[in-house]
Structures are given as C-alpha cells and as structure tokens.
C-alpha cells in the first residue's frame, strides 16, 4: 500500500441510553452474553429513553417495541434490545416514537421505556447494543463505565 489506498472507515457509536456501560458477558441471557447474536456492549439504563446513536434508518422495530435494528449509511446494522425476556411484557412498558422504515437523526428519541415497570415484572433492564452484521466489522472497541446518551462514545467500530 502507498498510503492512498482504500482507507478503512471508522464509525463512532454514541451512547443511545444514559447509564452504565458494561461488558456483554454481564447480560443474563446466553444469546447475548456468549455473543451468539453479535459483538458489542450492554448498558444498565439509568434513564428510560433510547435515542438514535447516529443518523440512519429503522430497519426493523419488533412489534412488542422492546427491540429494534438500526441501519447506518455505511451498511453497519446495530441491534438494541431493551432488557432481558422483555418480549414477555408484550409492549406494555414501551412507548415507540418510530416505526420500521423511518429515517432517524442522531439524538432523536426512538423508544421510551418504564424502568420500574420492567423491574417490577422481575426482569433485568440491562440493554445489549450489538452489531447485527459482524461480517462488516474489522475491529470493535467498546468503552465501559458511566455514559450519557447523545454525549459519550460507546463504541468505535472499524469497518473492513
């Protein structure tokens, strides 16, 4: 390479929820903890608001509103899953602000969720934020610790 070859693209993923970012292994669901679905990080939410971490599109909002897949213009797909086993709540603690196919702007509210209602149902609120199409990723760096939505970087992803 002579320096003017194809430059690898790096995407910065801003925190989509305010809370504490922890390793995916902390999620009490083996599908996420063992990275079967994909690599990424999890957030223990302190505020029940999920925002868009980048400009993109809602590829899929699950019909029980607890999970969605966001597409970045680069082709990267991000799956965000609010809580564990929350499919069983049939949408009740979740208020979606978007639908499948919507274009979204960074910082836009995607889903509001009631943390206390989820906890009262006996379910963890910990929220995996993972790359759904890991085949496009060359390198993923995740930051743990306290994060503020739309402010701190949660992950840095280098594409192939």
């Amino acid at each position: 390479m002579f320096g003017f070859g194809k430059k690898k693209k790096t995407i910065s993923i801003t925190a989509p929820i305010t809370g504490k970012a922890v390793a995916l292994e902390q999620v009490p669901d083996p599908a996420f903890a063992q990275k079967i679905i994909g690599d990424g990080i999890a957030i223990e939410p302190e505020q029940g608001v999920l925002i868009a971490p980048f400009d993109g599109q809602v590829i899929h909002l699950i019909d029980t509103y607890h999970s969605l897949v966001l597409g970045h213009e680069s082709g990267l797909e991000l799956l965000i899953h609010i809580g564990v086993n929350t499919v069983s709540l049939q949408g009740k603690p979740f208020k979606p602000h978007v639908k499948t196919g919507d274009k979204v702007k960074k910082g836009q509210t995607l889903i509001e969720f009631d943390i206390s209602q989820i906890k009262e149902a006996g379910l963890p609120v910990i929220t995996p934020v993972i790359v759904a199409n890991g085949d496009v990723v060359a390198e993923l760096k995740a930051n743990t610790g306290s994060v503020t939505a739309n402010s701190n970087e949660l992950m840095e992803i280098v594409l192939k």
Binding site: I36, I62, T64, S67, L79, V87
Partner: protein, 86 residues
C-alpha cells in the same frame, strides 16, 4: 431444495430464537440457507434478516438451501425453527 416448517414458539421469533436459528445456519459454512415468508426471502445467517421476517406462532416458513450439506442444513435449521425457545 426447500422444505416448510411451522413456527411453534408462542412469542414468535424474537431475538433469542433468531440467534439460535442464525447459530445453527452458521454451522453450515459452505451452504447458502434462506428463509422465505410473506413474499420476502432472507439469509438465515443474518440476525437482521431473520428478525425482519416478523415470524409469529403458526406462520409457515419455507427454508431453502444450496451448497454443501443442503438437505442436512434445511432439516437442522427447520428443527430450530419449530422448537420452542422461551
């Protein structure tokens, strides 16, 4: 070749069962495995693809495969599709 399977999970194919389908499909590295439902066809190896089909209990899914061990791949993925993972 292709074969049809019925979703039995009362909660449909949400993230965890979708992950199980994808994991099984990935075991067949040299086969292209597709799921078809409602006029849409996706790769069984894509979590996004599997989720976007929005498969519910009672839905009938067509699984098709090409490449190495295509028949085995269809049966293996079909078994996961029909299983009830909570």
């Amino acid at each position: 070749m292709e074969k049809q399977f019925t979703i039995k999970n009362p909660q449909g194919i949400h993230a965890r069962p979708a992950g199980a389908i994808m994991k099984k499909a990935a075991e067949f590295a040299n086969a292209q495995i597709s799921l078809e439902f409602n006029g849409r066809k996706v790769s069984a190896k894509s979590i996004t693809g599997v989720l976007t089909l929005g498969m519910k209990a009672g839905d009938i899914i067509t699984v098709s495969a090409e490449g190495d061990q295509a028949a085995e791949a269809i049966d293996a993925v079909g078994t996961v599709i029909e299983s009830v993972l909570d």
